[in-house]
C-alpha cells in the first residue's frame, strides 16, 4: 500500500504540470493567431502591389502605348522611304536639267561665231561703202547698226554663258551635297531607329515577362492562401491537445482519488493488486495520450512556423520574379525608356534634317527655274536682235539693188548678214526649246514639292510631338512602376522581417515538449514499478475497451487503439472494430470531416 501512496504523491505534481501544459498555452496561440492576421494583411498588401505592378506593365494602356510606338517607328520608316523616293526623283530631274543645260549651251558657240562674222561683215560694209563714196553713204549706217547689234549679241551671249555656268555649278554642287547628306542621314536614322527598336523590343519583352509574372502572382496567391490555411488548421490543434491533456488530467485525477480511497479503507491484497495493475494500465495509457498530444502540438507549431515563413518566402520569390521581369530594381526599364527617347528623338531630328534637305533642294529648283527664266529672256533678246538684223539686211539688199552694178558687193554682204540673222533666230529657237524643257521639268517638281514640303514639315513636327507624347506616357508609367516596386520591396522585406522575428520567438512547442516529457517520464516510472509488481494482463485489454467510451476525440481513440494493438498483438478482436463502428466517414463535397444534415 505504501508504494500506491508514493505513486499518488508522484502523480499529483504531474497533474499540475499537465494543467499548466494545457492551460497556459492559449495566450501564445492567440498571439500566433493575431500575428497571422497581421501577416495576412501585409501579404495581401504585397500581393496587391505586385498585381498592380504586373497589371501596369501588362495592361491595355501599356499595349496601346507599345502599339503606338510600333506605328511611330513604322511611320518614320515610311517617311524615310518617301523622302528617299522624292529625293531620287529630284536628283534624276536635276541630272536631266544638267543635260538640258549642256544642250542649251550648244547654240552659244553659234552666237559667238555669228557675232564675229557680223563684226567682219560690218567692217567690210564700211570699207565697201567708203569705196562707193556718195553711193554707199546709206550703207555706213547699216554697218554701224550691224556692229551695234553684234555687240548686243555678244553681251547677251556673255550673260547667258555666266548664268548657265552658275546654274551648272549650283546643280552639280547640290547633287554632290545631296548624295553625301543622304548617306549621313540614312546612317543616322538607321542607328537611331536601331536604338529605338532595341528599346522597343526590350519593352515588349518586359511586357511579356510581366504577363508571365501575372501568372506567377496567381500561383503565389494560391500558395500563400494554402500556407494560411495550414496555419489556421494547425492553430486549432491547440484546442484538441488541450482537451487531450484535460482528459489525461481527469483520468489521473480519478486514479489518485481511487488510490486515496483505497488507502483509507485498508483493502485486501487482491484489491491492492488490482489497483496496482490498474495504475499501470492508466499510467501507460496516459503516457501514450500525453506523448501523442505533445507530439501533435509540437508538429502543429512546427507546421505553423514553416507556413508562416513560407508566406514570406513566397512573397520574396514573387518579388524576385518581378525584379527579374522588370530588370534589377526596374533599372532596365529606365534604360529602355531613355534609349527609346534618345532613339526616336534622334530619328525624328534626322528626319527633320531630311525635311531641311528637301527644303534646300526646293530652293535650288526655284533658283533653276528663276535662272532659266532669266536665260530665256536673254535668248528672246537675241532672237529679237536677229529679227532686227534681218530687217536691216533686207533694206540693205533693196538699197544695193537700187545702187546698180556698183552695189553688187554690198548686196552680197547684205545677203550674208541676212543669213546670219536667220541663223541667229534658228539657234535662239533651239535654245529656247531646251530652256523650255528645263522649265517644264523643274516646274513640275517645284509644284509638287511646294505642296508636299508644307505637309512633310508638319508631318515631321507631328511625329516629334507624338514621340514625345508616347515616351512621356511610358516614362510616367515607368515612374509609377518604379515607385510601386520600391513600395513592394519595402513591404516584402517588412513582412519577412516581421515573420522572422515572430517565428523565432515562438517557443510554445518547446515548453509543451518539456512539460509533457516531465509528465511521461514520471508516469513511465510508475508504469515500470506497477508492471514489476503486477504484469499487464488480458484485463488491460478489456479495460482499454471499456475506457474507449470516455474518449470523444478521434485522435484519442486512435492512440487508444494503437496501445490495444501493441498489447494484444492483433487487430481483429475488440477495439478496432468498435472504433470503426463508432465513427462514420462523411465523404461530403466539403471533405471527410464535414457532414451536412
Amino acid at each position: 500500500m505504501q508504494h500506491l501512496a508514493q505513486w499518488r504523491e508522484r502523480i499529483l505534481p504531474l497533474i499540475e504540470t499537465l494543467k499548466k501544459a494545457g492551460g497556459t498555452t492559449e495566450d501564445e496561440f492567440l498571439q500566433i493567431g493575431a500575428r497571422l492576421q497581421e501577416f495576412y494583411i501585409k501579404s495581401e498588401q504585397c500581393s496587391r502591389l505586385a498585381n498592380q505592378l504586373v497589371g501596369l506593365l501588362g495592361d491595355d494602356e501599356y499595349h496601346v502605348l507599345i502599339g503606338a510606338l510600333q506605328r511611330m517607328i513604322d511611320e518614320m520608316d515610311e517617311y524615310l522611304l518617301a523622302a528617299r523616293t522624292r529625293s531620287n526623283e529630284s536628283r534624276e530631274t536635276l541630272g536631266r536639267v544638267l543635260e538640258l543645260l549642256h544642250a542649251a549651251s550648244q547654240p552659244l558657240e553659234g552666237f559667238q561665231n555669228m557675232q564675229k562674222t557680223l563684226r567682219m561683215l560690218g567692217i567690210s560694209t564700211k570699207i565697201e561703202s567708203a569705196r562707193l563714196g556718195e553711193l554707199g553713204s546709206g550703207f555706213t549706217i547699216l554697218a554701224a547698226d550691224v556692229e551695234r547689234l553684234s555687240c548686243q549679241v555678244n553681251e547677251k551671249t556673255g550673260c547667258i554663258v555666266v548664268q548657265l555656268k552658275e546654274l551648272d555649278n549650283l546643280i552639280v554642287q547640290n547633287l554632290q551635297g545631296l548624295k553625301t547628306n543622304e548617306l549621313l542621314q540614312d546612317a543616322e536614322i538607321s542607328a537611331m531607329l536601331a536604338i529605338a527598336m532595341t528599346s522597343f523590343q526590350g519593352l515588349t519583352d518586359l511586357n511579356n515577362r510581366c504577363s508571365h509574372s501575372g501568372e506567377v502572382a496567381g500561383r503565389v496567391a494560391g500558395e500563400v492562401a494554402a500556407s494560411i490555411s495550414e496555419v489556421v488548421s494547425s492553430v486549432q490543434t491547440h484546442d484538441s491537445v488541450r482537451q487531450q491533456l484535460e482528459h489525461a488530467t481527469e483520468a489521473l485525477g480519478r486514479l489518485v482519488e481511487e488510490i486515496g480511497t483505497a488507502a483509507g479503507t485498508g483493502d485486501s491484497d487482491e484489491t491492492i493488486r488490482g489497483l496496482v495493475s490498474k495504475s499501470g494500465d492508466i499510467c501507460e495509457l496516459q503516457v501514450a495520450q500525453v506523448r501523442y498530444a505533445g507530439r501533435d502540438l509540437y508538429n502543429a507549431v512546427v507546421t505553423i512556423i514553416k507556413n508562416l515563413n513560407a508566406i514570406g518566402a513566397k512573397q520574396s520569390l514573387f518579388l524576385n520574379e518581378i525584379t527579374t521581369a522588370t530588370g534589377a530594381g526596374g533599372t532596365s526599364g529606365d534604360s529602355h525608356f531613355s534609349n527609346l527617347r534618345k532613339g526616336l528623338g534622334g530619328a525624328g531630328a534626322a528626319l527633320g534634317n531630311c525635311a531641311g534637305s528637301d527644303q534646300k533642294l526646293f530652293v535650288t529648283l526655284l533658283k533653276v527655274a528663276e535662272t532659266t527664266a532669266g536665260i530665256s529672256s536673254f535668248v528672246g533678246a537675241i532672237e529679237e536682235i536677229g529679227a532686227e538684223i534681218n530687217l536691216l539686211a533686207l533694206n540693205a539688199q533693196i538699197k544695193a539693188a537700187h545702187t546698180g552694178k556698183d552695189g553688187a558687193a554690198l548686196g552680197i554682204l547684205a545677203e550674208a548678214i541676212k543669213r546670219l540673222a536667220l541663223e541667229a533666230v534658228t539657234q535662239a529657237d533651239a535654245m529656247s526649246h531646251s530652256l523650255s524643257s528645263i522649265n517644264s521639268a523643274t516646274e513640275t517638281l517645284v509644284t509638287k514639292a511646294r505642296g508636299e514640303l508644307t505637309s512633310l514639315g508638319e508631318r515631321v513636327r507631328g511625329m516629334d510631338g507624338k514621340v514625345d507624347e508616347i515616351v512621356s506616357s511610358l516614362e510616367c508609367l515607368n515612374q509609377s512602376t518604379s515607385a510601386l516596386l520600391v513600395n513592394l520591396i519595402d513591404n516584402v522585406q517588412n513582412l519577412n522581417g516581421d515573420i522572422n522575428q515572430s517565428t523565432s520567438s515562438i517557443k510554445v512547442h518547446d515548453t509543451i515538449e518539456e512539460l509533457t516529457s516531465q509528465v511521461t517520464a514520471g508516469l513511465d516510472e510508475i508504469v515500470t514499478q506497477a508492471r514489476a509488481r503486477v504484469p499487464a494482463s488480458t484485463e488491460f485489454f478489456e479495460d482499454l475497451q471499456h475506457m474507449t467510451s470516455r474518449y470523444t476525440m478521434q485522435s484519442e481513440r486512435r492512440i487508444h487503439d494503437e496501445i490495444a494493438r501493441t498489447k494484444k498483438g492483433q487487430t481483429e478482436i475488440g477495439i478496432v472494430p468498435t472504433l470503426v463502428l463508432a465513427e462514420s466517414h462523411c465523404e461530403s463535397e466539403f471533405g471527410d470531416n464535414v457532414d451536412l444534415f
Binding site: 489556421v232 492553430v235 482537451q243 463508432a582 470531416n593
Partner: protein
Amino acid sequence: MSKTIMTADDSASVRQMVAFTLKQNGYDVIEAVDGRDALTKLNTQKVDMLITDLNMPNLDGIGLIKGVRSGSLNRLIPIVMLTTESQDTRKMEGKAAGATGWIIKPFKPEQLIAVVKKVLG
C-alpha cells in the same frame, strides 16, 4: 450587405481562427465564449448563422441549439457544430437538437467558407 455569423467556443484561439476566416471572406462576426453567452446575445441580436462548439462550460452546444430553436429571434438560422468530437451518436444528438451540419476540428478555411456559403444559400 454582409451577413453576420456568431461563433461560440470556449477556446479563444478557435474563435479567433473562425473569426479570421469569416472576416477574410467578408462576413461580420460576433463571438461568444460559451453556450450561455451565445444564447444571451442571440436573444437580443439577429444573426444569419451560428457556428458552435459542442463541449463548452455553462451551456454546451446541444443545449445552445435547443435554446436557439425554442427562441424567436434566431430560431430558423442554420447552426453548424464545430467540434473535436466525431462519434455518430453525438452527431445524431446534434441533428436531433436541430443542428444543420457537423464539422470536425480542425477545419480548413476553404472548407468552412464552402459550408457557410452552402447553408446561407
